[in-house]
Amino acid sequence: MSRTFAIDKYNRNFLIDLLKEMILIRRFEEKAGQMYGLQKIGGFCHLYIGQEAVAVGSIAALDLSQDYVLTTYRDHGHALACGMDPKVLMAELYGKITGCSKGKGGSMHLFDVEKHMYGGHGIVGSHIPLATGVALKMKYKGETGVVACYFGDGAIHQGSFHESLNMAKVWDLPIVYICENNQYGMGTSYERISSVRDFYKMGSSYGIPGKQVDGMNVLEVYEEMMQAVRMAWETGLPSFLEIKTYRYRGHSMSDPAKYRTREELDEYRRQDPILLFKDALIEYGIVNEDEYRAIDNESKEVSNRAVEFAEMSEEPGLEALYEDILA
């Protein structure tokens, strides 16, 4: 699959920032996987490796002083793209008091109310109505802005998705529903369990415009998201993006991903969103190999420092057990 990147439409800093953010997510996730292997991180840990262009490209289109993000348990990438501190995120994965959720949420429940990163939700599809409710509040208050609601292909058959799209259209809510179609709901290929192959068409059941987007092309993601976001900002109307992507790792750290072939994985590695973008940037003379390597090294360094911070941080005290149950 050949891709074109509209590099010359953008300024150099913007392009390099996209590259940096994707590389940071990649290196952060590799580090998280490594620390999971060392049993520093427990429970369910869902890595974002392979999907970086989705969160980075789409969140780059948002203004988080007014817009909101809600996502699934595969939330590290979105949290980083929202500008959350890698140290605070790694500390949360470690369950430390310095984590964004004071160690009570873990990998699946990253939140930053100030940055409008509204989670980090663990039940498949359950946050889609929440995101719709945040959009209701924006409309009620007459605010300009949009809610970006991310979920996987596994969520698209949940009633909560269909109920939400219906209400968003009936009430004209400013929200972009984003299906990150990484092609497997846990270990099940969507082709085995979905009567619809092109999810973007499902928006039309509710009168919501849908579009299929190449999730390996960060600029295409940005451009399509920008259109949807602008529409919400200007008209307050909902839209739906199916962003086709791929995760290199299993569903979670405990999944060896035996349901797919080596060849399939290799094929997607050749379409790596970071390497494709890097090649395009080099071709256009935006970066050279040395600069790329420097960015990569810096990302590794940031990830290492995040681990150091998490290691050095304290566990929550036992008194925290009964804190923050009620306001």
């Binding site: 009570k104 429940h109 009620y140 804190e323 009620l326």
Partner: protein, 326 residues
């Protein structure tokens, strides 16, 4: 003092709070143009319009979640479930989202939302439309659960629930909406978490809440004729529970009966019975007795459905048992 219905008391509470705070909205099935399936919201759509009184599709999970999301972002929604039977469709939203958002975000969110509607057995409605489901909610940390039995309590507690920064489950009852009682003009609040002694007595404590209060009051009148003075403690809030008032009463009367229209297994009644047994052990002259709904789905036949619920006779029998009169 004016005498109004339980339904009117609820409406007054919502009306006053909507007038007071523009962040308060009401959403649910038939709440707006239809004026509410049970007419609790009658007139509110005329007064506040479609922006604040919102008819939803029949999608309990969806609109419950919408309410929770709006609450996370700063509104104070009242979600009306047409009945609690349908709240089962929305349990994931309540249990996994409303109740846990604050905790799992390390205290970053408040979720100020009220879920209200009729709960408990009504008449001739059979198993799926006639059941007391409070146990499902009382079980969950992160929720408050309120169950007033009089118009006065209903109004004061609903206003407190709307102002509370936490998710509050507010249990009403189809058969209670017509109940009348004195409600003062002008504003008052009743704090969540405070029980109320509805009748003083020295011989036995009867703990109850919500619709069975009437049955218990009738039973107490009958018992009085037998020379037994029952003290009725109306819990009003079942999470958090007003343990102090419960124990004070039981330590005075030394006998306790719990009346709860829900099923007996792992219920409010069984929990309160355990609490009293444990904390008033030295003061009790008899084991705590429970009067609950029978452990069966609700039948349609009227004779059978009455037999499935707490009755005056069952309460009197339980009192006589703890007084060793049978």
């Amino acid at each position: 003092m004016p005498i109004i219905t339980y339904r009117d008391a609820l409406r007054e509470a919502m009306d006053e709070e909507m007038a007071r705070d523009e962040n308060v909205i009401l959403l649910g099935e038939e709440v707006a143009e239809y004026n509410g399936a049970y007419k609790v919201s009658q007139g509110l759509w005329d007064k506040y319009g479609s922006k604040r009184v919102i008819d939803t599709p029949i999608t309990e999970e969806g609109f419950t979640g919408v309410g929770i999301g709006a609450a996370m972002a700063g509104l104070r929604p009242i979600v009306e479930w047409m009945t609690f039977n349908f709240s089962i469709m929305a349990l994931d939203q309540v249990i996994n989202n409303a109740a846990k958002m604050r905790y799992m975000s390390g205290g970053q969110f408040k979720v100020p939302i009220v879920f209200r509607g009729p709960n408990g057995p009504a008449e001739y409605l059979a198993a799926q439309h006639s059941q007391a489901l409070q146990t499902l909610f009382v079980h969950i940390p992160g929720l408050k659960v309120v169950a007033p039995a009089t118009p006065y309590d209903a109004k004061g507690l609903l206003k407190s629930a709307i102002r509370d920064d936490n998710p509050v489950i507010f249990l009403e009852g189809e058969l209670m909406y017509q109940w009348k009682g004195e409600v003062p003009e002008g504003e008052y609040l009743i704090p969540i978490g405070k029980a109320d002694i509805k009748r003083e007595g020295k011989d036995v404590t009867i703990l109850t809440y919500s619709k069975p209060l009437r049955v218990v009051e009738e039973a107490a009148t009958e018992l009085e004729k037998q020379g037994i003075e029952a003290e009725i403690v109306d819990l009003r809030t079942i999470r958090p529970m007003d343990e102090e008032t419960i124990y004070r009463s039981v330590k005075k009367t030394n006998r306790c009966v719990v009346v709860d229209e829900s099923w007996p297994m792992v219920s409010v009644a069984s929990h309160v019975g355990w609490m009293v047994s444990r904390n008033c052990f030295d003061d009790l002259d008899a084991p705590v007795e429970l009067v609950t709904g029978e452990d069966v789905p609700m039948p349609y036949n009227h004779r059978l459905e009455l037999a499935a619920q707490p009755s005056v006779e069952k309460v009197i029998n339980a009192v006589q048992k703890v007084m060793y009169l049978t």
